[in-house]
Symmetry: C3
Subunit: 348 residues, 3 copies
């Protein structure tokens, strides 16, 4: 199916610059744009491609200023990435949701099933589990006893949700992720052996949360590990027992959050960051990749970097000087020599 720049501009509430009659029937990356495709430019790193792309239409930010001639028709919008996301969403809606319960899945009799659900092959649903309407459970998913999954949530192949955990509406959990494994709790015994501390709490995931592949979220010792609504968690992330992640916070791949820590709302924790246990991170905090947050962050909106993580601006200055340490050392020894010489000549 084909759409004109005019039609798409109307859908996105954008302003056309160029030929409104040009037609597209596919979506492309700007650096690989082909005739008949629509692309977008949001990240300035990719600006250079807009002058040579063959994409027939490019969605750009309202304030984009061209430095050279552009052959594509432009659609100017408030937020090019967001508009592009809307187009992809539209495109994606053509895919039908999976439906039906595979004969070789297994659902315990006491489980409650919503309307219109999909349960794939070799999926297992435990006793007294409650599955909401339109829930999609892919093959080889495990849902333990007393688990609740609310409406429209998707669990991709191989997800494991252990007993008593609760997952809200409109969530997406990617393949291989484990929800509700035991927290890592052991009491030291006198003989240097450890005694397991039973983990009798659960995990609560609120609405509109997305969790990547092969991530693990441990159940609480007591009470709940809580992922608040709108949180986005990437692949291979570790969330320990009794952690709470605040609304709309973003946790990038391979981050680890240690036990009983509370992360505020609207935070962004970049890849491979470690967050210490039993601390509190204020709302709106941003932590740079590979940092280690060792103590509570009280100031909202702090921007931190490094291991241990400190204020970004301080860290940056120190990092620059770190590279110059050999120069600093030379400088010191030069001063030393000069001073020695001076001392010998004039003082001794």
């Amino acid at each position: 199916m084909k759409y004109t720049a005019g039609e798409i501009g109307k859908f996105l509430n954008g302003v056309i610059e160029g030929n409104p009659e040009v037609e597209v029937n596919s979506i492309s990356k700007i650096e690989e744009g082909t005739e008949g495709s629509i692309s977008f430019l949001a990240n300035p790193k990719y600006s250079k491609y807009i002058y040579k792309t063959k994409a027939s239409i490019v969605i750009v930010n309202k304030d984009f200023e061209a430095e050279k001639e552009i052959s594509s028709t432009l659609i100017r919008v408030d937020d090019a990435y967001n508009s592009f996301a809307s187009l992809l969403e539209l495109y994606n809606k053509n895919k039908e949701a999976k439906k039906g319960i595979a004969k070789n899945s297994f659902i315990e009799k006491s489980a409650k099933k919503g309307k219109n659900i999909y349960v794939g092959h070799f999926a297992y649903i435990g006793e007294n589990a409650k599955i909401g309407n339109n829930v999609q459970i892919y093959p080889q998913v495990y849902i333990g006893n007393n688990v609740t999954i609310e409406d429209n949530t998707i669990l991709y192949a191989g997800v494991k949700v252990f007993a008593n955990c609760k997952i809200g509406k409109d969530c997406i959990i990617h393949g291989g992720t484990v929800i509700g494994s035991d927290g890592f709790g052991f009491a030291a015994k006198s003989n240097k052996d450890y005694k397991k501390v039973p983990q009798i709490g659960n995990v609560i995931i609120e609405d509109n949360v997305e969790i990547g592949a092969n991530t693990s979220i441990d159940r609480a010792t007591l009470g709940s590990t809580i992922i608040r609504k709108g949180v986005k968690i990437d692949n291979l992330v570790q969330i320990a027992h009794n952690v709470e992640i605040g609304e709309n916070s973003v946790i990038v791949a391979q981050v680890g959050v240690a036990g009983s820590t509370r992360i505020g709302k609207n935070c962004i924790i970049a890849g491979q960051v470690g967050v210490n246990g039993h601390i509190t991170v204020a709302d709106g905090v941003m932590v740079g990749a590979q940092s280690g947050v060792t103590s509570s962050v009280k100031k909202e909106g702090s921007v931190l970097l490094g291991s241990p993580a400190i204020d970004l601006s301080i860290q940056r200055r120190s990092l620059i000087l770190f590279k110059k340490l050999p120069e600093l050392q030379k400088e010191i020894s030069r001063l030393n020599k000069m001073l020695d010489k001076l001392k010998k000549q004039y003082i001794d």
Copy 2:
């Protein structure tokens, strides 16, 4: 069921302070304590909550000194966390162990099954595997040929144990963990391509080991990757081929141990640490989070931090000065100027 402070105190061998008749029927976190519940205080960070908790009973360490009035009945014990673990254990015992072999699991005929085992739906047990008594194999577990699993061990949903590996008694392995994947061994060829080095060894896990979710432990090239008895490994940990982890060592989430390294007994390796290959770490060594252990650690009981990891006390001093590098630089240039001035005035 309800218990009095007196009854619990007797069970824990503790000393009652307050009303021995007060009754509880649930367990709570101290910061969320409700009337009729029992809680505990072990981590001093949480001391402030004991003065306002509504928990009817709080278990505390023998030497805890109250700074204000406490309304809860206290039970003083040698180790509050340990005693609390015992209570949770007692509470947990009411849960019945899973039993029975699901019809839609598959067990090869040559496999040997112990008494009283649980094999969940869509679990697979390979040829000549030996499953001990009371072993619990959750749904979608894979057990390869010739694998041995000894008595009372639990494999949670989605665990994969590949051919020839051995798992001891009383172990717990959490969801999604892979035991016995091939070690990462390749021989460089002249054309920059690599030739796979077949990995024909196995993994041996001794008794009383707990391993978290989505962890991977590779089989040895030759011989065995060995996890000694009592070791506790957290989620998303990487143990490479031919590694050996000594008795009762603790490996926290997202740690990676490279090939052929031997870690001693009673070590604690904190989260996100990397340990280099072909090195030896002495008994009782502690490594701080995100550190990188690059060479063998010979001194027992060393405490290390940083990447590369060095003695904690040295690292700490350097880390403090790292933040002050801009000040040090200023100091140096001030000295420089002074000296220049001095030189000009008196020497030139």
Copy 3:
């Protein structure tokens, strides 16, 4: 079956030193060598073992110089590790490949099956999937719709390959790995909530790639995430959407590569490294463990270390001085005092 040193020497194109008639029937590590076994010495760290090993034969590099008497027969070859790999390969060939389609697997009717394939218990193969000849699909593997798997590839238990992804010939993917989960793409909305950016691309894995256990490789937003031929990826690695890894590059355990980054050919990225998004890494680059590559690396063959990663030689010098920061500080304050004194005596 037994082989003489002479026979093995001929097979490896090596030179015998010692008794060519000595026989072996097993393979051992040099530090655990037993009579009747063959071992190898490649890593100089293990040289000390060659003087006491009981292995009947040891394969060594052509240029190995003995410092003491060795009782084993030696076979000198160009590359001992490579030759040893060849022997293991030979040894391993006796293992028969798995064959046959388990009755309790499920293959959609529209899927195309090659000759001689193995499909294990509880494996699922989706619509219009194409499975090449001799492909081995272990139990509990998930293969989504329209996936292509070419000849001789092995997917171990629990691997999940989502819709539209393509895997080449002679690949090995270890247990629990997820290929084709959604990329982590969200567009910020004005209310601090996020809108999912649909990920409509796929993952392409070329021939002769090996991928470890519990790794995740995300599908592209548009186009493809590409793993070029001969790449070797270890366990628990994160490859984000639209990344490209060049031919024969090696990615060690727990590395994370952020979105849209291109890594060149013949690179070696050591364990726990993080590579920033939207950057390019030149061919032949080596990055030391735990480093953070924050910006594009243009020079081929660069060797980098640290977070942020800089040239290894510079990093090393700075790291040495980092440990000496307390000394540098003392030096500076000593200079300061001297200068003060000087000033007082001669200038004031």
